[in-house]
């Protein structure tokens, strides 16, 4: 019995079949995603490192408190919408992969199309958020003079408040905030953009019947892995910038 198990184990690595029981392409997609998670991890941990080195950091509930079309103070509202969009597009992607297993071309098309729409909706929301942050200015006390600053890579109007001419006014905050926020959400947005492009290519190939002819929908699975990874990264970006 034991020798049989040992034999089976050695045979797993003697060639002729995948020892990990997955195809080469899928395994390499996993290893790419592992390396990409370290890239994102390095960015986010560096952000954490700088944030820990400061006595004061911005109050995210004050920075991210607007919702397009509303004047009210709505902390967390818009980013929740973005998060829900991305989670939902992850579900539609996994359903597309599932339809692919069943060789159901129409099903793959339908769910993949919804995934692309979700990705585009997320990117749209992100561009609205960025535009609002950069163009919407706030009074900041700089060297005894009030200036109006937007939130950019070089300007942070979200510093501690001080008394000035009988009113509370913000002072410049840590400049690293803009760089990290736009850098990391931008890098994530770049990943989403790539994901949308990949999904569009997959959609066209599905429509042409390429996968039906090939006999399997493994490409959809690989694109799906990438798309879920984008969602996974967003879960952590959401945590680091908007929640804690």
């Amino acid at each position: 019995m034991e020798t049989a198990v040992a034999q089976a184990k050695t045979k797993l690595w003697t060639g002729g079949k995948s020892p990990f029981n997955v195809s080469y392409g899928k395994l390499m997609m996993w290893y790419f995603l592992l390396s990409d998670s370290f890239t994102f991890g390095a960015f986010l941990i560096s952000y954490g490192s700088i944030r820990f080195s400061q006595n004061y950091w911005v109050d995210h509930n004050a920075v991210f408190n607007s919702f397009p079309g509303f004047e009210a103070n709505l902390p967390l509202a818009f980013v929740s919408l973005m998060t829900f969009i991305l989670i939902f597009s992850s579900v539609t992607m996994v359903l597309a992969v599932h339809e692919g297993h069943k060789m159901n071309q129409k099903g793959v098309e339908k769910w993949l199309f919804l995934t692309i729409l979700g990705g585009l909706a997320f990117l749209g929301c992100q561009s609205i958020e960025w535009t609002h942050l950069i163009t919407h200015t706030h009074p900041v006390l700089v060297d005894g003079v009030l200036e109006n600053w937007g939130t950019t890579m070089s300007h942070n109007p979200w510093g501690p408040h001080v008394m000035f001419n009988g009113a509370m006014v913000a002072t410049p905050g840590p400049v690293a905030f803009g760089g990290y926020f736009f850098g990391i959400t931008g890098f994530h947005g770049f990943h989403v953009t790539c994901g949308v492009i990949i999904n569009i290519i997959m959609f066209i190939k599905t429509k042409r019947g390429d996968f039906q002819m090939r006999g399997h929908y493994e490409m959809i699975e690989k694109a799906g892995l990438y798309w879920h990874f984008v969602d996974l990264v967003w879960v952590f970006v959401f945590l680091c910038f908007y929640l804690i």
């Binding site: 020892p19 990990f20 029981n21 997955v22 395994l27 996993w30 290893y31 370290f38 991890g41 941990i45 560096s46 954490g48 490192s49 700088i50 944030r51 820990f52 080195s53 006595n55 109050d59 509930n61 004050a62 902390p75 967390l76 929740s80 998060t83 829900f84 989670i87 939902f88 992850s90 579900v91 359903l95 599932h98 069943k102 706030h138 009074p139 005894g144 003079v145 009030l146 200036e147 109006n148 501690p160 408040h161 001080v162 001419n165 009113a167 509370m168 006014v169 913000a170 799906g224 892995l225 879920h228 990874f229 969602d231 996974l232 879960v235 952590f236 959401f238 945590l239 929640l243 804690i244």
Partner: protein
């Protein structure tokens, strides 16, 4: 003929179970996100007063645990890693444990940097200043404010 029908029924059942599992994972993710948002708003409300930093840290810790749970569901259900064989999972999980060192080392580094700066590398005592953390609406109107005031 009857066998074929049984097989069809069986695939149909396992197929339905699979779709059910996907939607279950979706609802779990949604509920965890809503809970995170709820706790985020609790922090927002607490910040208006003068909360204990330990309480805030505790709530943030709970949110972080929820996030890790979400990551687990995405990886195991959506990315189907839970269905792969053990050696394949380990080939990804073992390198990923580097993150434990990575996070601890670099946050400790940042913390040490702050202490060194605040105390001039230990040569003086740091007295924490109270800063106004939450947003206070400015009294000065925004359009007038870029001209010089004295």
């Amino acid at each position: 003929m009857p066998e074929q029908t049984t097989a069809q029924v069986l695939t149909h059942v396992s197929d339905e179970a699979h779709v059910k599992r996907i939607w279950k994972a979706f609802w779990i993710l949604l509920i965890l996100t809503v809970l995170e948002l709820g706790l985020g708003l609790v922090i927002y409300q607490l910040d208006k007063g003068d909360p204990s930093p330990w309480l805030i840290l505790f709530i943030k810790g709970v949110i972080t645990i929820f996030t890790v749970a979400k990551a687990f569901y995405i990886i195991s259900i959506f990315m189907h890693l839970g269905d792969e064989i053990r050696s394949m999972m380990l080939s990804l999980a073992i390198p990923a444990t580097l993150f434990i060192w990575f996070i601890i080392a670099f946050l400790a580094d940042g913390n040490s940097f702050r202490n060194l700066r605040n105390t001039d590398a230990g040569s003086r005592i740091y007295i924490e200043q109270k800063v106004h953390h939450h947003y206070v609406p400015p009294v000065v109107p925004a359009e007038k404010s870029d001209k010089k005031l004295d």
